[in-house]
């Protein structure tokens, strides 16, 4: 049987090549980069999700257990938590409405973190307990300050994507292959 030998020899090399290829990320294609909710956008969504969880559970607990201690601070925490959730949803949906929602949320966050940060420095007695935004987000490694800036930058960078996607694609985008659960099994 002449078949197995020649077939067997190139196999290891071929296999390593294939794993190399599957491991290597393709550089982001222009078409792929035109999505608000993929690539760096997905990382942004992940961080927003983390902050949504952190702020929601913290505010919920504070409101349930000791609301009277600092009602203003706790309501502000709850508001911030809501903004993070809505921003995550907006970035995740990434349509025209989603982007508008995300834009509004990032703006509110930036104004909020700057405003509350400034007020908490000037009038610490107004905030007897910490909120996500007090001290410009110092309790959370200043991420609350950086996050809306990154969000706005990302929305700005992807601002023409919807138009470009609509122009380049003859079909509506919902017929694009869904890769939400990983690459297509080949």
């Amino acid at each position: 049987m002449p078949d197995p030998r020649p077939a067997e020899r190139p196999q290891p090399a071929e296999r390593t090549q294939r794993t190399e290829r599957t491991q290597r990320t393709e550089r982001t294609q222009p078409a792929e980069r035109t999505r608000t909710n993929t690539g760096p956008g997905r990382l942004l969504i992940a961080v927003y999700l983390l902050f949504a969880i952190a702020a929601t559970s913290r505010a919920g607990l504070q409101i349930v257990t000791r609301f009277e201690a600092a009602p203003m601070a706790y309501l502000l925490s709850a508001f911030a938590a809501t903004v993070y959730i809505v921003a995550a949803v907006g970035l995740g949906r990434a349509g025209r409405t989603g982007r508008l929602i995300a834009l509004a949320c990032c703006t509110v966050e930036l104004v909020g973190v700057l405003g509350v940060g400034a007020v908490s420095q000037a009038r610490p007695e107004w905030f007897p307990d910490e909120t996500v935004w007090s001290g410009f987000g110092s309790g959370y490694g200043y991420i609350p300050l950086v996050l809306p800036v990154l969000g706005l930058l990302w929305l700005w960078r992807t601002r023409h994507d919807l138009d470009r996607a609509a122009a380049s694609r003859p079909r509506p985008s919902q017929f694009a292959p869904d890769q939400s659960f990983g690459p297509p099994a080949t």
Binding site: T25, T38, L43, A46, V47, G182
Partner: protein
């Protein structure tokens, strides 16, 4: 698992179930996975098998920690801030699966960046968890 038993006995002696190797192992693991994911991000690599395996081992370590904590609770030990403690514990256990799902959705370098980010957050949550068990100076 000899590690679990050893840590369980030492932590029972220390009167703090979320301490010792039981907490140190997940923290070190998490930082290792974060480092590896960072390298993958910088090399433009999608999350590889090593990252997913690391996430799985990390989750296993966190589940061991959770079980030991629940056993300690059954023995009558109580955290100083029960509400925050269970909040942090629930969040902690959900972090590696969250990283897994998001990394699956994003088979690009940014998937590795997501794994890196979440694995950097995990030790922070774990340390906060320890702080809610014993309030310093209380």
């Amino acid at each position: 698992m000899p590690v679990t038993e050893a840590s369980a006995t030492t932590s029972a002696a220390a009167d703090l179930p979320v301490d010792g190797p039981l907490a140190t192992i997940p923290i070190v693991l998490s930082l290792l996975v974060a480092g590896w994911a960072l390298v993958a991000t910088l090399r433009h690599r999608a999350p590889d098998r090593a990252q997913f395996a690391g996430l799985a081992v990390l989750e296993a370590a966190l589940l061991v920690l959770t079980v030991v904590t629940l056993i300690a609770l059954g023995d009558g030990q109580r955290p100083d801030e029960p509400g925050s403690f269970f909040g942090y514990l629930a969040t902690l256990v959900c972090l590696p699966p969250l990283a897994w799902v998001l990394a699956r959705m994003e088979p690009t370098r940014w998937g590795s960046a997501i794994v890196c980010t979440i694995c950097l957050v995990t030790p922070v949550v774990l340390v906060r968890l320890q702080q809610t068990w014993t309030v310093l100076g209380a």
